[in-house]
Symmetry: C2
Subunit: 107 residues, 2 copies
Amino acid sequence: MKRKPIQHYEARAAVAKALAHPSRLLMLDALAKKEMCVCDLTELVGADQSTVSKHLAVLKHAGIVDVRRDGVMTYYRMKIHCLEGFWKCVESVLRQNLKDQSAALGV
Amino acid sequence: MKRKPIQHYEARAAVAKALAHPSRLLMLDALAKKEMCVCDLTELVGADQSTVSKHLAVLKHAGIVDVRRDGVMTYYRMKIHCLEGFWKCVESVLRQNLKDQSAALGV
DNA sequence: TGAACTCATGGTAATATTGCCATAGACGTA
DNA sequence: TACGTCTATGGCAATATTACCATGAGTTCA
């Protein structure tokens, strides 16, 4: 098992960083179901359109979503399908953590 | 399919944020194999001991690692085992992205 | 051409993250 | 008790992230 270079972890960190914002995760959850335009996502998130556009640029730059232009509209779609299962696993662990903590407090 | 509340995505973002640093990912990769003390991890990362300690606090607070005290030493160990598969999937997608981009450039 | 629409990009202020130094706390041992 | 070792925690400066406003770029249609 050879040691991975630091660049390897920087690449991973770039992906994690792109995931590290609730608005982006909300959009990804929606994009997992179907592609959506910036206007749809702006309404979904409820922030300024420019803010949403920048969030999408982050996701695109990280290689998590893909873009398709159609006239005036720009449609974003999911490119990484590892997320659903990942969050499911993470959340089951976090739920168990909470249970353990409750038990430790003698509830 | 009911809409998840914003708190749901904030919880996810907290985990992603904890993962969003190369040093922390390096430590997690090592911790996936065996528990390690702060001194081991400090040597692994090559940063100041206080820096490593703070990184570990971030991982612990996110519920990603667990702590065990033994005398003077503090051992950290992995608590979430979803990461290995997740990164494997992510990296395969990123590799494919690169291939597609190369092909698009007509290489 | 010009207005309306969709989206992206500077600019900027507020906030968060990060790393190191100094230092404090906790434990084992002489 | 005193000392050495291992960790954790303030403090602080440098850097990064974020949100909004204003505006620009590209497209459609009358």
